[in-house]
Symmetry: C2
Subunit: 202 residues, 2 copies
């Protein structure tokens, strides 16, 4: 698809949804024949390559962000890292931190990333899903169980969750927002840890 | 000492420092021959008796309080319980919660109460203090080691720490403030748990 035929509003939408640069968005739309969702995939693949390059750089600056729900009965503390104090004070970075804290309060994830899920817990869930699929033909059981495991990980892992504020972040996962923040700031952005308190919980 | 000779300003000071009722303060000052510090001890002994009575009541209401230092590099989340939602919205209770959160940010305690210090950690410290006292006469060593252990517990245990804002809470420990909050609100007040994040710490 020729660059000239890409509507400006699609470029804008792509920028808003990915945080990628103007030219990157145009090029991705050309490569994707103008299909925005495909362009997002293309940008994400490239973004992951960039993030991988950036991953080696130390992210030890950043911000501790808190959020307490208006009732005072749910509170969150989250540490988000970047590479420089300059970016730590950047408004996009701080907005990302606030968005994440609010999301954690509402969605109650259990782990930051899939890597943080203990292997025994993952195996236990997988066994349960395999047993639940016992009435299905044997050859499809592993696939069904794996699908349910993916769904479960999507529910308990922060980076896999879709942001609860769907008006502001329609369909974007926390990982999408993290990648966008990294892209906007040009630094490696890492959600390091979080704590969520709910009043009176065990 | 006769009640009539107790200066009103001493009663007021005692009320401010302990949160006890007017008549309790007067009676304690009479019993203490007008010595404020002694009256505080008397009130504390009585307060503990009252708190012990209250201790049986469930404290499952309360508030989650957060505090993030202006630099954004230190953050605290603390859960403080009381017995009713009415007291949870009480200004004295909420001020206590804010005071505790700010204190934790500055003083970095490791445990809420002495009961939370793991026994093996306590024994390890005690051994170190005993070895440090090896040059002292054998009969005083246990006492010296025990003294150092008390000091160490005063440093790492939240309830034993003096509040960092000495202008507002001169010489009062967090336990003093907690007892005062319980006395002011008439409910059992419990610091249930806290989390303190410092940017980039291990």
């Amino acid at each position: 698809m020729a660059e000239a035929t890409i509507p400006a509003k699609d470029v804008k939408e792509l920028r808003d949804r990915t945080g990628a640069g103007m030219m990157d968005c145009k090029n991705a739309l050309v490569e994707a024949d103008g299909v925005v969702d495909k362009a997002i995939e293309i940008l994400r693949v490239k973004g992951q390559a960039q993030a991988a390059k950036r991953g080696g750089r130390t992210a030890s600056e950043g911000v501790i962000q808190s959020y307490v729900h208006a009732t005072g009965k749910i509170g969150v503390l989250v540490e988000i890292n970047c590479e420089t104090d300059f970016v730590a004070r950047n408004e996009d970075f701080q907005e990302f931190a606030r968005d994440v804290a609010l999301h954690i309060a509402a969605a109650a994830p259990q782990y930051v990333s899939e890597d943080d899920v203990p292997e025994d817990e993952r195996q236990r869930e997988l066994r349960i899903f395999e047993e639940q699929a016992a009435d299905k033909p044997e050859n499809v059981r592993p696939k069904i169980a794996e699908g349910r495991l993916r769904k479960w990980l999507g529910e308990i892992v922060l980076l896999n969750q879709e942001h609860v504020n769907t008006d502001k972040h329609s369909g974007q996962t926390i990982e999408d927002l993290r990648a966008a923040a990294a892209s906007k700031t040009g630094e490696n952005v890492v959600i390091r840890r979080f704590t969520r308190y709910q009043l009176g919980e065990e």
